[in-house]
Amino acid sequence: MPTAAVTAGDGPETTAGREALRKLKSTDPPLYLCPSEDLSKAARLASEYLFSSLKPYTPKSPFSHLLVNGFDAEQIWQQIDLQTQPLISSLRRQVKKFEKNPEEIRNLFNLGEKDKKNDGNDVGTISNGDEKMENEEGFDEFEDEEMEGDDDDDEEEEEEEEEEEEGNAHEGKEEDGGGGGVEDNFLKIKELEEYLEEDEAREYGLKKEKKQGKRDQEDDNDKEGDDEDEDDDEDEEEEDDELGVMGVDVGEDDESGEELENARYEDFFGGKGKMGQKRKSKLLHGSDNLDMDGELSEESSDDEKNQSQKKQKLSTHEKELEKLHSTIEQMEKANLEPKTWTMQGEVTAAKRPKNSALEVDLDFEHNVRPAPVITEEVTASLEELIQKRILEGRFDDVQKPPTLPSRAPREVKELDENKSKKGLAEIYEEEYVQKSGLVSTAVSISDQQKKEAGMLFKELCLKLDALSHFHFTPKPVIEDLSIQANVPALAMEEIAPLAVSDAAMLAPEEVFTGKGDIKEDSELTQAERKRRRAKKKRKFKAVAAKRMANKVQHSSLQNRVDGNEES
């Protein structure tokens, strides 16, 4: 049941609104699961009433009153959201202000409120007021969710839970400075204050300023996880000590922060009772021991005690050794495990995770020569080569290999276009004779030509050899029966070449005897000319007479023969 409202609303409307609120509150939660018009109407009325009651505190809201008729749940929610957002921020600001200056609160509330029960406890009034505000806000949120519940039930239940959490978190945070009126069993403000003082005294000067903020957060979380157990308190103090000693390392803080971010609801709010406490302590030790998730045993606290004691006594050298040992341990552990796929020998696609080859820089042989990069220098060099070759005329043309003659070239019989000298009968006769093999005569035109050619070449060779005389070649033996008169009986080898030597020299008498016409025709005198002519005539006459005599002999012989035949 909400207490007397701060705002002064219109009479009938406020009563209606309150009635609606009462109704909503009185209904069983399961009834909200089924859509009912009464509930929806009540919800709308209630939200309208709340909206209008909050309106004086939101100077910037565009709506004078909540528009409900004919509007979607989403639209109504948006309107409420528009109102509450600035309201929440303004309230926060105010609370912070009051944190700093507690006197103002007194002034404000002495002026504003007169129906207060606790005048002395300003903080209480404030807290009450805040509570109310917060409650109303919480209710706002709650009822909005209830309206939406008509439409989507399951989702809103979850949202409700979340928003309750947020609301509680808000409350937790907002009440840093203020008193602990929240009934959560986690936050005891006196203890908080004591702890803060002790901590600051202990750790002042050892830490950097930055970490204090984080420290505070951790402290808050510590508080939330606190039990009445002294052990845990001690643990947390020790944890703080450890963290303080190691505070030089930024990394550890980061790690612890990360660990705390990963903390779950159960860790803080004891979803599983004591186990939650121990988990919490574990998270704080995250910087020292990485795999504590599996170990929920009581040993953890003992270990922590021992370690903390050790670390206080170690020197820097020993710390380095410790580090070395830890790295060695890690490496040994890695060696025992199966190797990563990159270190194994042959790995098929099935043995390695998907798309893992894309991330690894693989090195494999390319059997193809990489394409040459064409630069200006390359082209210039090529052109130079081409020009040089053109000038030389040396083109690397493909030459046909010489085909080996498979058989001897046939003698092509040429067509003789002259009248054949032999008769047909003779031709056949020769053919027959050749076939039968009586007389072997290779008489063909090509042979004759070959003979002639051979003779000519031999003559030429002889003459050339005579000029050079490097190789002595005797005269070629030509078989022909001709009588040469003026040749020496013996032909001796001469050192001097034939052209120069005078072995074949003729004697002057052999060149010219006294006989014959010495004088030329032009040199003759008349008388000598006559003498020559007379001589010629006499010779001719003698020859003619001889011929006639032979003819007469012949004819006489023939006549005799004829005569015999006739007879």
Partner: protein, 208 residues
Amino acid sequence: MEVENTSSSLPVKPNFQPLKAHEISSGQVQFRKVPVPPHRYTPLKKAWMEIYTPIYDQMKIDIRMNLKGRKVELKTRPDTPDISNLQKCADFVHAFMLGFDVCDAVSLLRLDELYVESFEIKDVKTLRGDHLSRAIGRLSGKGGKTKFAIENSTRTRIVIADTKIHILGSFANIKIARDSLCSLILGSPAGKVYSKLRAVTARLAERF
């Protein structure tokens, strides 16, 4: 003859000589008469002895010239060895009359397988006037070189007498020569005929 002695012994086989020309015709003489065309009259006179000698001496056939009838008459003698001699002689004389040389025609006397084939240009293709003249010109060629080429390559002898063509040679050679001449008549150039001739004669030469 009595077969007295035994059944196995047969009488001696009689050995008959081939019949002589006279005996075949039972004593009658056989004639052949070869007419002499006027343009062959003077060559006959010039070459008479060359014709007469082989016929009379080696063939043993009587030969005479009938001047009035312008014929050469051939007659068998009692000592003519073979009846075919007369026919050979008649063919020889006939070949001379066609226009062949005596030395070429004598091959008829010496070889059995030689024949003379005659055909006309109009048998191959009907040509008139200038075309005919050109055809004749094509056949003989310049200075007779085409004709001699065919003669030499095919071992034949060819006589082109106006529109008549006579070929003397063996059967296969006559065929080749005839094909060449026909292609020439039909119009193919001499070069083409030469190439064909070359191919054919090469084949012929290979065979033998």
